[in-house]
């Protein structure tokens, strides 16, 4: 028997409860949006896998990822954000009403923030799982290089990230051993990075090698490499091993709806907008150059703020500007433009003359740039005429006589004649 799903309505649904999602929820909640965070596992995301976060400002003594996440969550809850701990099964984000479905509930939202993050790609070699994250296998030189001072580290990979991060590690480690799957002299990185790497005395290359398995006690002690040219196993004692073999963004759910990059990330503009209206992305899932707690919270703040603005504008747009009761005239103006300002009293006068027959709307492009775009009005000043909640004419010609003729036509349910 199929279970009838419960339907619940929110202003904002945030998918993913890591630092980006929690910050977005904090901003959403604080802006009085009815906000829900849906997280499939532990609140805090990838940050909870790190024992010490030393580069998030405000915690000079360092803080564990779990503790930091707890604080983020507490703050988001303080501003009224609600939480649901379950995986999202399906989404439908293309329409006005955004649908997010879990196993028992269909959530409806006006705006959605995707903060699903991702995971570093793993090798799946024996022993790997026991040493992940703070036990010796790292994925982030920015995060962990400082703890590698005078130590021997290994880098897996030979792409841009591997070589550039490997070079960064030479500033700390006594030796950086690069395990490269290709033949001697061949790397996937750009030529300049390769040349720098070859010149760096602290760098050592193990060509034709792949990881066979990992060995150690509490922590990683050695990487056992396999030489692919002869099958020989070569144990290499190291203090830490860094993977730079890619990152897997958690975007399967959104395929076919949200535009993704070739590697599966979500491209956004600086306002965290995706290709879909009312759908934003924040944090590690976004196509970006740095993936840190500090960058995730910044993304989350912008996404939360923009989601609030989107919802507020949608409300103004649908319920005020495109009202259905009366013919409408919308004046799109910029207060910093003199011609715009000077015509405002004339508009007011026309409004008085047509009181009760035509409704005036004002769009200040300084504050409501998106509203003007929604109306299709790119220039200021301009006038947009509506009938039955639909735009019927636009003009940039500010001539009181023509405007009055157009309004007379609208009142009589005739098509207004106007020059663009």
């Amino acid at each position: 028997m199929p279970i009838t799903k419960d339907h619940q309505y929110y202003d904002l649904v945030v998918i993913g409860g890591g630092p980006a999602g929690l910050t977005a929820a904090l901003y959403g909640g604080r802006a009085r949006l009815k906000t829900l965070v849906i997280e499939k596992g532990l609140i805090g995301g990838l940050a909870t896998y790190t024992n010490e976060i030393a580069n998030y400002p405000g915690f000079p003594e360092g803080i564990t990822g779990l503790e930091l996440a707890r604080k983020f969550e507490k703050q988001a809850r303080h501003f009224g954000a609600e939480f649901k701990n379950t995986p999202v099964k399906r989404v439908d984000l293309g329409g006005r009403d955004k649908i997010i479905e879990t196993f028992r509930t269909v959530y409806h939202a006006k705006a959605v923030i995707i903060a699903t993050g991702g995971k570093p790609r793993l090798l799946g070699a024996p022993g790997e799982e026991a040493f992940l994250y703070d036990k010796g296998i790292s994925f982030c030189a920015t995060c962990d290089a400082a703890s590698c001072k005078d130590k021997v580290v290994m880098v897996i990979g030979s792409g841009d990230a591997a070589v550039e991060e490997g070079l960064f590690l030479t500033k700390f480690a006594s030796k950086v051993i690069m395990s490269v799957i290709h033949e001697e002299g061949h790397m996937d990185a750009n030529a300049a990075a390769q040349a720098d790497a070859m010149r760096e005395p602290k760098m050592e290359f193990r060509w034709n090698t792949v990881v066979d398995h990992f060995e150690g006690g509490e922590r990683l002690e050695a990487v056992i490499l396999k030489d692919t040219s002869n099958g020989e196993l070569v144990p290499v004692p190291v203090d830490r091993c860094f993977y730079f073999i890619g990152y897997l963004p958690a975007t399967e759910l959104f395929q076919g709806q949200v535009t993704l990059t070739e590697r599966g990330y979500i491209p956004t503009n600086t306002r965290m907008q995706t290709n879909l209206d009312g759908v934003f992305a924040a944090g590690d899932v976004r196509q970006t150059c740095l993936r840190q707690v500090a960058t995730a919270v910044g993304d989350g703040a912008i996404a939360g703020f923009e989601a609030e603005r989107y919802i507020a504008e949608l409300d103004v747009f649908e319920n005020q500007l495109l009202q259905c009761e009366l013919p409408g005239m919308i004046y799109v103006y910029s207060p910093i433009d003199e011609r715009s300002r000077d015509f405002l009293p004339t508009i007011r006068e026309i409004e008085r003359h047509y009181a009760g027959r035509v409704r005036l709307g004002l769009v200040d492009t300084y504050k409501g740039e998106c509203l003007a775009a929604r109306l299709g009005a790119v220039d200021t000043p301009s006038l947009v005429f509506t009938q039955d909640g639909k735009v019927v004419a636009k003009t940039r010609v500010l001539d009181p006589d023509r405007i009055e003729r157009a309004l007379d036509a609208l009142v009589d349910h005739r098509e207004p004649e106007l020059a663009e």
Binding site: L42, Y49, K84, N85, P87
Partner: protein
């Protein structure tokens, strides 16, 4: 449909995951297993495993640092 509760309070990883796998194995499709945990690492590996296996689940935070994972055996 029956509902079974598994008390894993005070148990560290990987014990809760192993006990969950075993307990779910003894149930039939449609049954529900409620796993009580208070170790954050179990909040990572149990949902991850259930997701991978395709079992539906929801988590309730009973009190701070204590959760109940409600898993429906799907196959």
């Amino acid at each position: 449909m029956t509902e079974k509760t598994l008390d894993c309070l005070g148990e560290a990883c990987p014990v809760p995951l192993i006990r969950t796998q075993k307990a779910l194995g003894e149930l039939v499709v449609g049954d529900v297993l409620v796993v009580a945990i208070d170790h954050s690492c179990a909040m990572k590996n149990i949902p991850e495993w259930a997701n991978k296996e395709g079992h539906n689940f929801e988590i309730e935070e009973v009190s701070e640092g204590q959760w109940e994972i409600v898993i429906e055996k799907s196959h």
